[in-house]
Amino acid sequence: MNISVSDVVLLAHAAFGVTGCLAALWVFVETINAQPGNATRIRTAALVTAVCMAAAWICGGYWYVQFYPPEKVLILKGPWPFAHNLFMETKEHLFFITGILAFLLPVATREQLSSNAAARKVVLSVAALVVVTGLVVEGAGAVINHGVKIALLRGDSKAQ
């Protein structure tokens, strides 16, 4: 088995991102039925969302700066250059939006959600935006990964 630091960091980035999305979904569902009894769970889930997205930010940033440049060259020479030009360029900046929204969630969940309709709307909106933008970012990551894969596969088939 040959698992490199690049592999571990990249997979950790994706895993933290998915976990952050699931935690935001948890916030959303608990907030629909907000009561004094689940306030602690909502705040915990909001904190998990923020921590996971911060970890995804750090892992993804480290991988992007340290390991992505050779893959970018491969993508641009391959059959799917848009995997970098459109998907990576959008993803690397869209992720900041997901991150900022994730950091907003613990602030908004400090409100008394069971008795404050406006605060519930804020939390539901922010949690939903984290889930939607987070899933778009995850999907873009899959396209980028496929861009590298088909560049390598088609490059190999040309060489044979």
Partner: protein
């Protein structure tokens, strides 16, 4: 919802309102900075010189804007005076515009 005994409120605290407004402004700032970097090589080079990579500087700038504006709006109470539905609408609208702005820019420009 079991909140019959709790006092009802439809007003956001200064911190929540302040950071919601800060987030709306930050996501628009994020997209504007992405456009500016893509259009201006000297700006990208300058941002690279600050931290070693323009993306790192971009993220740090976003965090500074979000935290700075959030604290400013919380202390000043400006956002707290705004209607909560308008604040939520501003945040959702800003995220949609910012996200589409990024995708359309990199698709067509």
């Amino acid at each position: 919802m079991n909140s019959a005994t709790a006092p009802k409120s439809s007003k956001l605290t200064a911190a929540t309102a302040g950071f919601v407004l800060a987030a709306a402004i930050t996501v628009l700032f994020n997209t504007a900075l992405a456009w500016a970097k893509d259009a201006s090589a000297p700006l990208t080079d300058f941002m690279t010189s600050l931290t070693g990579h323009h993306w790192t500087t971009h993220g740090a700038a976003d965090l500074l804007v979000f935290a700075g504006l959030g604290i400013l709006f919380t202390k000043s109470g400006i956002a707290e005076k705004m209607d909560s539905n308008r604040l939520i609408g501003a945040l959702i609208g800003a995220v949609v515009i910012a996200a589409l702005g990024l995708a359309l820019w990199f698709a067509f420009v």
